[in-house]
C-alpha cells in the first residue's frame, strides 16, 4: 500500500481531483461533533469485524 494509493482512494471517494488547500487556521479548534465521531467509530468497528471479498 503506497502513499499515492491512499491519496488516490481519498480523492476518488470525495470526487476531488486534487488535495484541497486548507491551512492550519481552518482546522485549529475544529471540533468533531459526536454524531460524526459515532459514525466513524461504527465504521471502524465494522471494518474490523466485516469480511470483504478480496481477490
Amino acid at each position: 500500500l503506497t502513499e499515492q494509493q491512499i491519496l488516490g482512494s481519498l480523492l476518488q471517494q470525495l470526487h476531488l481531483s486534487e488535495v484541497p488547500a486548507l491551512d492550519k487556521a481552518d482546522v485549529d479548534g475544529l471540533v468533531i461533533p459526536a454524531h460524526v465521531r459515532a459514525q466513524y467509530v461504527a465504521l471502524l468497528q465494522r471494518s474490523h469485524g466485516a469480511r470483504s471479498r478480496g481477490k
Partner: protein, 291 residues
C-alpha cells in the same frame, strides 16, 4: 385433441436435438478439510459406435461426425425450483471411444457455496446436434456413454476426479512471527505495516482521524505443487502470496462547506489486509453463487 375450442395441430418429431443425462455425485467427505479445490474433472466413457451404424451414418451424413457434449450444474433450490449453469462444453467425434474429460471445477465450486446440509452434486450432461438445427447430422444419436441405462453394469461408470491441495503444505500461515525476520524461506504470512498519515504532507490539515493505521502486507513465498493438471489453464503463473481479504479504513477529513470547514467521515475500500493466502497468479476467480 382434448379441446373442443381449438383445431388440433399434429406435429412430428423432426429433429432430435439432444439427449440429456443426469449424473449424481455424493460429495460429502470427498473434499478433505483444510484443502483447496484445484480442479475437478468429469470423465465419461464414450462407447465405440458399432461399425454398421457408423457406415450407415457416413452414407447419410458424409463429413459430419461430431456432436457437442455440454455439462451444466443443476441446482435444486429450497423452494423446489431449479436452475442450471453452463459449466463446460466440448466436441466429440463418433469415431472416438474411451474416456472423455470435462472440466467441472466451477460446478464443484458452486456446490461448495451451498448451505449445509448440501444436496449431492447434480451434473446435467447433454449430447447435442452439432451444429444445431437442420444443417447438423444425427451424429449425437450415436454418442453413448457407458452405464447409460440399466445395461451399464458398473463398467466405465462416470468418474469425478477431485484435485485438491493440502493448505497445511501449500497455503499461507496466518500472521508472521514478529520475532522472526522474513527470509526467502518464510512461508506466506501477514506482516504488520504501520502507515503514518501524520507524516504525509498532503494529509496535513485535511485528515483529522486517524493519525495512522496498521495496514499489514503479505510477505513470504508459497510452495509450488508438482503435479500436472488434467486441464491446464493457459494463463496460470506460480502460486503467490496475496491479500485474499481486505477491509476498508474509515477516515475523518475536513471539507470546506459554505466557506467553513466541516468534519466528514469517508470510508476507503481495501485499505487493510485482513488475510493473506497462496493463490495461482492468473487463475480464474470463482464465480459467486447468486441467490
Amino acid at each position: 385433441r382434448f379441446s373442443q375450442n381449438f383445431r388440433e395441430v399434429v406435429g412430428r418429431f423432426l429433429l432430435s436435438e439432444a439427449s440429456t443425462h443426469l449424473l449424481v455425485f455424493d460429495m460429502e467427505q470427498r473434499l478433505p478439510p483444510h484443502s483447496e479445490l484445484v480442479q475437478a474433472v468429469l470423465r465419461l466413457f464414450q462407447e465405440p459406435v458399432p461399425k454398421a451404424a457408423l457406415r450407415r451414418h457416413e452414407r447419410l451424413f458424409p463429413r459430419s461426425d461430431r456432436a457437442r457434449v455440454t455439462v451444466q450444474w443443476l441446482h435444486i433450490r429450497e423452494d423446489g425450483s431449479n436452475r442450471t449453469s453452463l459449466i463446460d462444453s466440448r466436441l466429440v467425434s463418433i469415431h472416438e471411444s474411451g474416456w472423455q474429460a470435462l472440466d467441472v471445477t466451477e460446478a464443484v465450486t458452486f456446490w461448495q457455496q451451498l448451505r449445509r446440509p448440501r444436496q449431492p452434486l447434480l451434473l446435467q450432461v447433454s449430447v447435442q446436434r452439432e451444429p444445431p438445427g437442420p444443417r447438423g447430422s444425427d451424429a449425437h444419436r450415436l454418442v453413448r456413454f457407458a452405464s447409460q441405462g440399466p445395461s451399464g453394469g458398473g463398467q466405465g461408470e462416470p468418474q469425478l476426479e477431485l484435485h485438491t491441495l493440502d493448505l497445511r503444505d501449500y497455503g499461507a500461515q496466518g500472521n508472521c512471527d514478529p520475532k522472526a525476520p522474513v527470509t526467502e524461506g518464510t512461508r506466506c504470512c501477514r506482516q504488520e505495516m504501520y502507515i503514518d498519515l501524520q507524516g504525509m504532507k498532503w494529509a496535513e490539515n485535511w485528515v483529522l482521524e486517524p493519525p495512522g493505521f496498521l495496514a499489514y502486507e503479505c510477505v513470504g513465498t508459497c510452495q509450488q505443487p508438482p503435479e500436472p493438471l488434467a486441464f491446464r489453464w493457459p494463463f496460470l503463473g506460480p502460486r503467490q502470496c496475496i491479500a485474499s481479504e481486505t477491509t476498508s479504513l474509515p477516515v475523518i477529513v475536513s471539507i470546506q462547506e459554505g466557506g467553513k470547514p466541516r468534519p466528514q467521515v469517508v470510508s476507503l475500500p481495501n485499505m487493510r489486509v485482513k488475510k493473506c493466502s497462496c493463490a495461482w497468479d492468473g487463475a480464474p476467480v470463482p464465480r459467486k453463487l447468486e441467490p
